[in-house]
């Protein structure tokens, strides 16, 4: 890759997919029911496949995944947030997969370097988004307790959603339009789930666009330590 702009964008998209894939993988052995265990692992696998293609566009996939320090990662702060309870995981999925579907649909329609991957991934992401939406409806319009916890989760993660629409160098997309459509989609889904669209700011002065610039929240360092531990302890290990 000669130009730097596609590499920057490949890292941003690739790191989003890689980090969220790892977070979802943490549910293995802990999901509330077996079907969810399988669903979350399958979504994680789709994201890992996307991450491999994207990181390979920016360099050596293993080196990039396992040997970079925290500050070199370009993922959104949203995807690195801990799984929390099941509602938090679903809210994170709803926010992110809706964004990813909008972005990949735009990229797939263009003729840039990301079009082939986006055209493929957008079909997978449609299932991820549907999964998140179905759960949002069930939890929101469920019991008093499930609604309360789903609302708490939506509120807690809301402040990380503004960053998604900061333009990324090398990606040809109408960010403002995507943000409008993302907000419309949230209003629609949360409304049907009898939930309230959170009111707080969608980014803080301390965080706007920060993940894309390598600034991450505290739990990310611990996640990376676990993710990179094996490779760093046993370089070149294989089985």
């Amino acid at each position: 890759m000669t130009a730097t702009a596609p590499a920057t964008a490949a890292l941003a998209l690739g790191d989003d997919a890689l980090v969220l894939s790892h977070r979802l993988g943490e549910w293995a052995g802990h999901a509330p029911v077996l079907e969810e265990e399988v669903a979350l692992a399958n979504i994680a696998l789709d994201l890992l496949g996307q991450a491999r293609v994207l990181l390979s566009m920016a360099g050596d996939e293993d080196e990039l995944a396992y040997l970079r320090e925290e500050r070199a990662f370009r993922n959104l702060q949203l995807v690195e947030q801990p799984n929390g309870d099941f509602a938090h995981t679903i809210a994170r999925q709803l926010y992110f997969s809706t964004y990813q579907q909008l972005l990949y649909t735009e990229l797939a329609a263009g003729d840039g370097p990301f079009a082939p991957l986006a055209a493929k991934a957008v079909k997978e992401v449609a299932y991820h988004r549907d999964h998140a939406e179905q759960w949002t409806l069930r939890l929101g319009d469920g019991t008093e307790l499930s609604q309360e916890r789903m609302q708490q989760a939506c509120d807690a993660l809301w402040r990380f959603t503004g960053e998604m629409f900061q333009p990324v160098e090398g990606l040809d997309a109408d960010w403002a339009d995507m943000e409008t459509r993302w907000l419309e989609s949230m209003t629609d889904v949360l409304g049907r789930a009898t939930l309230t669209v959170p009111e707080g700011p969608r980014s803080g002065a301390w965080s706007a666009g920060a993940g894309r610039q390598g600034l991450h929240t505290e739990p990310f360092g611990r996640m990376l330590a676990e993710m990179q531990h094996l490779h760093r302890s046993h370089p070149g290990a294989s089985w």
């Binding site: 496949g49 990949y104 957008v122």
Partner: protein, 175 residues
């Protein structure tokens, strides 16, 4: 498509006859993942393979199997390339492939009538006899089936249950 030489046609058939590592009732040709074979010399060949899902781990086993079969046929240099575009769709599964899936106990994917990267419209979770295009139980043929999970034993399948014979089954979901 560029006209293939006799050698390329022969190699394409050989590579296409390799069984899918996860669904061994299907060949790679029936699954629709084998895109092209280019012979750049009498014993040098490049094979274009496309993954079903971006993260499908079976692609590595497929590549190894293709290399083995073509080497056994006298090819000294076999390169298997992964191509993403155009994106694979379940519509690429051949009619014979669909029939075999059904026989194997997996409900075949319904045909998609749209093309391109437009996101799927995902339908209702339960299908009924009066639906125009229901997911039928591969065991008893009933159209009255319901979705248990959009994700099953592999990324490409959904888990359903037949409401007539009560058997659970995998459905190769539309992509």
């Amino acid at each position: 498509m560029v006209t293939a030489t006799a050698l390329e046609a022969e190699l394409l058939e050989l590579a296409g006859s390799v069984p899918d590592p996860e669904l061994p009732v299907l060949t790679l040709q029936e699954l629709g993942v084998l895109r092209a074979v280019h012979a750049s010399g009498p014993d040098t060949v490049e094979v274009d393979l496309t993954p079903t899902y971006t993260g499908c781990p079976a692609i590595e086993a497929m590549s190894t199997d293709i290399e083995r079969v073509l080497r056994a046929h006298g090819m000294r240099e076999v390169t298997v390339r992964t191509v993403l575009s155009p994106a694979w769709s379940t519509d690429d599964i051949t009619a014979e492939g669909r029939r075999k899936l059904q026989e194997f106990g997996i409900a075949p994917p319904r045909e998609r009538h749209d093309t391109g990267p437009i996101p799927l419209t995902l339908g209702a979770t339960r299908t009924l006899a009066e639906d125009t295009d229901p997911v039928r139980c591969p065991h008893c043929g009933s159209a009255d089936t319901e979705l248990l999970s959009r994700f099953s034993s592999t990324a490409c399948k959904a888990l359903r249950r037949c409401l007539s014979c009560r058997e659970p089954f995998d459905h190769f979901k539309e992509l």
